[in-house]
Amino acid sequence: MQELLQTYHLNENNFNWDKNWFIQAWRIMNTIRVFEEKSIQIYKKGLMGGSLHSSIGQEAVAAGVCMNLKKDDYISITYRGRGQALAKGADPFQLFSEILGKKTGYCKGKGGPMHITSQELGILVANGIVGAGIPIAVGAGLSIKTLKKNQVSVAFFGDGATNQGAFHEALNLAAIYKLPVVFVCENNLYSEMTPIKNAVLNEHLAERGLAYRIPSIIVNGNDVRAVYEVAKQAVERARSGEGPTFIEAKTYRLLGHMIGDAETYRTKEEVEEWRQKEPIRYFRDVCLKQNVLNEKELDEIQQQVIQEIDIAYERAMKSEEPEMEEIFNDVY
């Protein structure tokens, strides 16, 4: 059983992305970061409803996993899921529109920030119920297998979600039916205000995958390259009919659980320490050190991203509200 558990270490010498991949990773991660920052402004200005859960600091997981996916592959995400949606190709304009409750949003403004869906992009649903998206992703895996498609289905969820019954039941189903599913647990060390170490005895959540005899792998979730490599293997296994893989991506949520979180449960020092290791800074250093991209190239892309996000935001702000009659549509 233990042989199913692995810790992945990136071999710097063996790692061979071409430049375009570096650019793509850099672009995706920055898009997420800038989008999230803008969203926070929107929230703080009181332009949106509900709560906003930022994924700042976790961009490498979304990027590294989704860079392995095709448009018709499925992902199931959470309330903290705009990052994964962007990595899967979501249009910032439609995303902003959605969080602003506009007609032009992915869900016509009826879903909101917690419920991003894009049928076209294989974004099944963003779930507000912890753990609930995991069996849904497994169901997509069942479709793929039954309909003999070449897709994969990825479930993104947090460390805290591994304590839900839905997690347990879903992993077992994927295991016994050998479904093309990749379980991506973003262990950001907290579920809301509760440190994961208070909620489980496990040192590694990957241990939990073993209970279903699912190959389980621990990876540095702040290194987009490592996440990419691990996800690549998992996606290949899935596509070739070898069944599910469980990935524990160790990362950190740099901001509070939601905007407005008092963050009394952790020290500034802890946050600062992780800020040093945060994925964008980390990847920038890698690019520079390995001479793949220089300062100027990196900055230029960042600037482009900022501009694109700004434009998307402005357009979304100018978009129309849904008609009142929308209330009665899409119920059945």
Partner: protein, 334 residues
């Protein structure tokens, strides 16, 4: 109903509906506990595993949240799952997937996704199965926008309604009754479907309208027979589906009878009978010559002892009493 002399059981009728829809549409798959080669504990899926194979008739571990959730995901991505929850009481372990997920998916996505899924289950008491295996929980589902709720009373209805349910584009809770599985009735050879949202007048009458569904249709018909002896002519309306609700048929009837008794096996308080009563008095106040009476189970869990259970659940005599009450007849005469 088409003319026919073929008599089959409620369980067989459901089995046929599954078989026909599976033959018609490759995307229809079955999921559930012991539904495979064993054919289900109530034998409803008998033979389907042999006919359609293990890819389409899938035995699951005991994990209702897991496999209802998987059904939701499968339905969103091209399959049409028909899932058996062995007893309706067990739906409670999967309520999040039913209410927060299946029911809301289409809406939350602004209509991008849909969940064409049927949850087949069986409810009701009468067998001494005790508090955790005898509930009538249809009201819980009927209250949730996004779910359709069906509860057939005869083999004919069961088949026609299940076929329609499978063709629906949204989640349907299809509630069978454990005491009806072995009941027989006419079911034609020819294909037919029954639309959701159309009540069926199982008996016409002019003095009082009994509104009911599932097993209570039988009890109501028995009550009507008894009442006939006393010169009371009861109309028995089988709603067949709670959502959509065919209130029009009920209102038509009330225009004629001016008196209504709603009968359900669910516990009385906050049960669906209240909705029917509320709707009738809202929309047909002036047609009512007496308050709408409700006959339901007592507001207690279902006791095990068979006599107690019978006393707790509505019986024919309670329906008769409800009718008399609505006719302002002496209770003592019952």
């Amino acid at each position: 109903m088409m003319s026919t002399n073929r008599i089959i059981s409620y369980a067989q009728a459901i089995n046929e509906a599954l078989k026909e829809e599976m033959a018609l549409d490759d995307r229809v798959i079955l999921l559930g506990e012991d539904i495979g080669s064993y054919g289900g504990v109530f034998k409803v899926t008998k033979g389907l595993f042999d006919e359609f194979g293990k890819e389409r008739v899938i035995d699951t571990p005991i994990s209702e949240t897991g496999f209802i959730g998987a059904g939701v995901g499968a339905a969103m991505t091209g399959l049409k799952p028909v899932i058996e929850i062995m007893w309706i009481d067990f739906s409670l372990v999967a309520m999040d997937q039913i209410i927060n997920q299946a029911a809301k998916m289409a809406y939350m996505s602004g209509g991008q996704t849909s969940v064409p899924m049927v949850i087949r289950t069986q409810g009701g008491g009468g067998r001494g199965n005790g508090a955790q295996h005898s509930q009538s929980l249809e009201t819980l589902f009927a209250h949730i926008p996004g779910l359709k709720v069906v509860a057939p009373s005869t083999p004919y209805d069961a088949k026609g309604l299940l076929k329609s349910s499978i063709r629906e584009g949204s989640p349907v809770i299809f509630i069978e009754h454990k005491m009806l599985y072995s009941q027989k009735g006419e079911v034609p050879e020819e294909e037919y479907t029954i639309p959701l949202g159309k009540a069926d007048i199982k008996r016409s009458g002019k003095d009082v309208t009994i509104v009911t569904l599932s097993r209570m249709v039988q009890f109501s018909l028995e009550a009507a027979k008894e009442l006939e002896k006393e010169g009371i002519d009861a109309e028995v309306i089988d709603l067949r589906t709670l959502v959509p609700l065919d209130i029009e048929t009920v209102k038509e009837s009330v225009k004629k009878t001016n008196r209504v008794v709603v009968v359900h096996e669910a516990t009385r308080s906050y049960g669906w009978g209240a909705e029917i009563a509320a709707r009738i008095q809202e929309e047909a106040f002036d047609d009512l010559d007496a308050p709408v009476q409700r006959v339901g189970a007592e507001d207690v869990p279902v006791p095990y002892n068979l006599n107690l259970e019978k006393e707790m659940l509505p019986q024919t005599k309670d329906i008769i009493q409800g009718v008399k009450k609505s006719l302002y007849l002496q209770m003592e005469t019952v």
